[in-house]
């Protein structure tokens, strides 16, 4: 018999999120203090961009799963499930779009391309939710 897999409690998730935020801030401060003597500014920005993108990817991947309890307050469970999955997929793809330019693109291109791709993903989610609301009013 397989042991049941438990989702982390909301308290555990909040602590985990705070630890992750502290890691990002700590890494940003440490690398900025070391730059440009030990690490170039470009490398600093690239590493911070990749790390930030991975954290967005981590939370986006779990969004559809961790937001599942909220489906009980939705009036249309099928639509709520569809929107939740769409949001998670859009943010995962957006975060991958944020990471890849920092890894492969020239620095000046990555500076605008990475945020643009993530913003596009967020905009897509907003438009999809807006379309759903407009459809429900019709």
């Amino acid at each position: 018999m397989m042991p049941a897999k438990q989702s982390p409690s909301p308290r555990t998730m909040r602590i985990r999120a705070l630890v992750h935020a502290a890691l990002i801030i700590g890494l940003a401060v440490a690398m900025t203090l070391r730059s440009p003597d030990y690490v170039s500014r470009e490398t600093t920005n690239r590493i911070l961009g990749i790390v930030t993108g991975f954290f967005v990817l981590y939370y986006a991947n779990a969004a559809s799963k961790t937001l599942a309890p909220l489906s009980r307050i939705a009036c249309d469970p099928a639509t709520e499930q569809m929107l939740r999955r769409f949001m998670a997929w859009a943010l995962v793809l957006g975060s991958l779009g944020y990471i890849l330019p920092w890894v492969f693109a020239p620095f000046k291109t990555a500076m605008w391309l990475a945020p643009a791709l993530l913003a596009t993903a967020l905009l897509t989610v907003g438009i999809r939710i807006g379309m759903r609301k407009r459809g429900s009013r019709a």
Binding site: M2, A60, N61, S64, S71, A78, A88, W89
Partner: protein, 107 residues
Amino acid sequence: MSTVFKALADPTRRKVLQLLRQRPMSAGELSEHFEVSKPTMSAHFAVLVGADLIEADKQGRTIIYRLKMSVLEETLLGFAQTFGLQIAHPDSLPDDSVDHPAPAEGP
């Protein structure tokens, strides 16, 4: 993660997850799509709940199952479905819930 792989190893469970992608469904609605007994379906649901891939919500006398998968788990489901993964594993179902076909009678 091993519980997720074991849950996705069975084609019946993969089909349950694909049905739940459309909308949350009751146990009865899901069982209509399969030609297996209700105890066997219950065992499959238990494996999926145990792997935290679906969530059961009791509404009166009906149990409604809803999808609870991360993007990575949905991707794994897609790969498993595309490549037809099927692992013969003794833990894939509890022994007492497996439907054993009647042995063929000799000439």
